[in-house]
Subunit: 353 residues, 2 copies
């Protein structure tokens, strides 16, 4: 059934075209140094026997790999976008990309091991969760670019976006709409959550809203948002805007609010963070903070390339600004008379768990 016979090699092509291997090699690679007729003969021969160069042998022979290893988390939607952008950015420089997935059943060190075995020249790690010491150890062996996480070891390059800027954008947006009573549902423990919390506080202060600063404990799941919704609903007066830790959290909140008969954005505005896929669903259409995957990927590959060719690098860390993605969950706050008597109606629905 399936053709189990030996795959044709360059040798076969050369023989068929009646030339030497090296000439065939040159012709196949499209380099100069072959006469047009010969090239055509070789190409035709290759085509006829279905020849396909062996990437591994090719790289082995070349000594250098032109191979970038990329770890990503198969669960994380944003990584999908980054991968798309990475492929695109790798093309012009003719880098090959070796993907290694982190899954629930395959931890990051396994993913890294595999890439190392493939002799990747450099590594691009999307939101790695390994301890910094492990990453630093890698960084000492080959160029490593960490994407989307803050690490301080000098042997590691970093491309990330500024969380405090993101939070400021969100707060600015809400304030410009007329909101003052803006609460933050945080992301619990973790560096990122802390950075966003800090960003929220700073941004509020900047608008003279220090007194309105309120942080409600949340988390990184929709459920945590749903739980936080109860707290939000219980507040008197109810805040006019909620800034959630991330999109998942915001969606849980959103859903719980709507089920309680609160209208978004008429009664309360909601802002997420990440511009994840869920936030774009037409029936969610969440205002959120987005990161430019294309740019991040391109910068990360650039940096890897810079390291590989041995050029100097001035700033180890590249910090990008995220941007506001204005969708349909934010609007002007309700007029005061309305706020006194929030538009709560009992809607028959399954309980929010």
């Amino acid at each position: 059934m399936a053709g189990q016979r030996r795959r044709p090699t360059l040798e076969d092509v050369a023989a068929r075209a009646g030339v030497s291997r090296s000439l065939a090699s040159i012709a196949i690679r499209g380099e100069s140094g072959v006469s047009e007729p010969t090239r055509e003969r070789v190409l035709r021969a290759a085509d006829e026997i279905g020849y396909r160069p062996d990437t591994r042998a090719r790289l082995l022979a070349q000594g250098r790999a032109k191979l970038l290893g990329v770890t990503f988390n198969v669960q994380h939607a944003f990584h999908a976008e980054l991968i798309d952008a990475i492929y695109a950015a790798a093309e012009p420089a003719a880098y090959d990309i070796a993907l290694s997935a982190v899954t629930p059943g395959r931890d990051e060190s396994r993913a890294l091991e595999a890439l190392l075995g493939y002799r990747c020249e450099a590594l691009v790690l999307l939101g790695p969760d390994s301890p910094e010491s492990r990453l630093a150890e890698l960084g000492r062996r080959l160029p490593v670019v960490v994407v989307g996480r803050e690490v301080s070891d000098p042997s590691l390059d970093v491309v990330r976006t500024a969380d405090d800027v993101g939070m400021r954008l969100a707060v600015d947006h809400l304030v410009s709409l007329g909101h003052r009573d803006i609460v933050h549902i945080d992301g619990g423990r973790g560096h990122k959550a802390a950075a966003r919390r800090r960003g929220y506080r700073t941004a509020m202060r900047r608008h003279g809203l220090t007194d309105q600063v309120r942080v409600i404990p949340g988390g990184q799941t929709g459920e945590s948002g749903a739980v936080a919704a109860r707290v939000v609903l219980a507040e008197r007066p109810m805040p006019t805007a909620v800034l959630a830790y991330d999109d998942d959290c915001a969606c849980g909140l959103l859903d719980a609010l709507i089920r309680s008969g609160v209208s978004v954005p008429d009664d309360v505005s909601v802002v997420g963070y990440d511009d994840s896929r869920i936030s774009r669903l037409p029936y969610v259409s969440l205002t959120t903070i987005g990161q430019d995957a294309r740019q991040m990927a391109s910068l990360a590959l650039n940096r890897a390339h810079t390291r590989l060719v041995g050029d100097e690098v001035t700033e180890r860390e590249i910090v990008l600004s995220p941007h506001l993605v204005e969708r349909d969950t934010t609007a002007r706050p309700p007029v005061d008379s309305d706020r006194q008597q929030p538009h709560l109606q009992a809607v028959r629905s399954r309980a929010v768990r």
Copy 2:
């Protein structure tokens, strides 16, 4: 900065341990044929200089690759699960997995090219969208297992689940709850959509509900579900249950229903298909039809392996049964008195677009 010096080779290890390359090779691979002291010496030497075998060279030398190429769509959540399971299933057989992503900017033929260049021994294609002729062409060159799509070419192996069974499970479930007025929002054009539509009709007929068969045009997006919701809401009497083409469609429907003040599952039950991540979100908790990723992956790898070792295969196609995942969007239908006057209340909310 980052160590640019040559990676240590087996030669280096051998030299350091004072043995020949071949012996070092045997020791490193843990094969028998080395004295214990020598093995330890080699292993220590390798460790000291940070040696790591070069997978490519290793495979090149071995002649065979033990490498399975896997294409997947970075957008598709179910593929993430399959990949996890594939890694797990590949481990015992010591297969290496080469991942090649299909992204908005990188089409499937590119993904396939890359894998072919890596001399994968066999291909596992997750939900491929290439024309069958292209797949068949591949199948003639090396073992190809198509996962989750129906193809008829004899050179291709298939592992998929039966859509008609899935639809039957959904209908059976609803009927057993007491529903009779069950509509189907379909997935538009496409093989899969047709298969599910057919499955729905057959299942309804089986319950003597031929007269209640109603198919509402839908699609594969949340938006299409939201649009279909309007049709559902306009029906008199309103159906007591809706069976959507997939989870995305079901979620759009769900959201639109809730915004219209219809309670799910009290007024109407909703069933999705795919058991995708979105259906599991705690605040969605959609009853749906699930496929066993672990089993599919394992069968796919098994099949690839069987082909590779040249064993006979009796059935080209492996068709699994999906299963019902009962969550919180299905319940007994409302009592008739209630149905006459469906519980519609105008909820102030942003319009469903």
